[in-house]
């Protein structure tokens, strides 16, 4: 099956040229080698697909069907009364931040060339990133409504 289709473009005889053409056209990062970078490459794509679900549902519910005219403390109380929405929000938090931090890491490696600044930037990114994951997870998991506020 492979020899007859050689005339079509995607079966360019030179596999390197074929791959290069694909990456330059897609604007995606070429699949890297090495353990961590390869893991990071796959993680982008897997978390990205999951985020299509979580982020778009979140946008639909919180920005289109509802909006900041409706959303307030009591809205959150009702939403987080369900463990399902808390799980949903935890998934969104962790996926979005790890996906975004991974992206910021790639940008730092692309644009910060001095070794000292690069180490500084990546370290700052990880510290701030982990802090925000922890803070976000804390409020989603430990939130308890204040009774007097609900009654208002």
């Amino acid at each position: 099956m492979s020899t007859e289709t050689k005339t079509t473009q995607h079966t360019h005889p030179d596999p390197v040229a074929r791959t290069t053409r694909r990456w330059t056209r897609s604007g995606g990062r070429p699949r890297p080698t090495g353990n961590f970078e390869l893991f990071s490459w796959y993680f982008f794509r897997i978390s990205g697909i999951l985020l299509l679900f979580f982020a778009l549902i979140h946008l639909l519910i919180m920005h289109l069907l509802n909006n900041v005219d409706v959303i307030d403390y009591n809205f959150i109380v009702q939403r987080w009364a369900s463990p399902l929405w808390r799980t949903f929000d935890i998934m969104l938090l962790v996926l979005a931040l790890t996906h975004g931090l991974n992206g910021a890491r790639v940008l730092i490696y692309d644009y910060v060339h001095s070794r000292g600044w690069r180490t500084f930037a990546v370290t700052t990114l990880y510290v701030v990133g982990i802090l925000f994951i922890v803070l976000g997870a804390q409020v989603i998991l430990t939130f308890q409504p204040q009774i007097q506020s609900v009654a208002k």
Partner: protein, 117 residues
Amino acid sequence: MYRGQSGMWLWILHRLTGVGILGFLFLHIADTYLVGFGADYYNELLFLYKNPPFRVLEWVLVGAVLYHGFNGIRLILMDFWDKAVDHHKTLVQITVVAFFVVWLPAGFFMLKPVFFK
């Protein structure tokens, strides 16, 4: 540094929207954290998001997420589907059209209560 052909602008936008979304994410986690302090703190802060300039920015944010997501689908197709390279231009067109088809009506419904009330 990547110097591609038509994919280049999509690539630049992908990075810009990615950084923008990450930036907003930090802000959004910080404001949600205030929920833990009680109704007064949280409801006080919401005035920020309620004024019209912010509502427009909210729509821009939705656009950033939509673009990043749709272009992401295109990237994944290019990565794993061998023949996608041949349909490169069609995929770009679908991405751009799909983005506007969702983003513009979303803007109508998001901004209608702000400006026509």
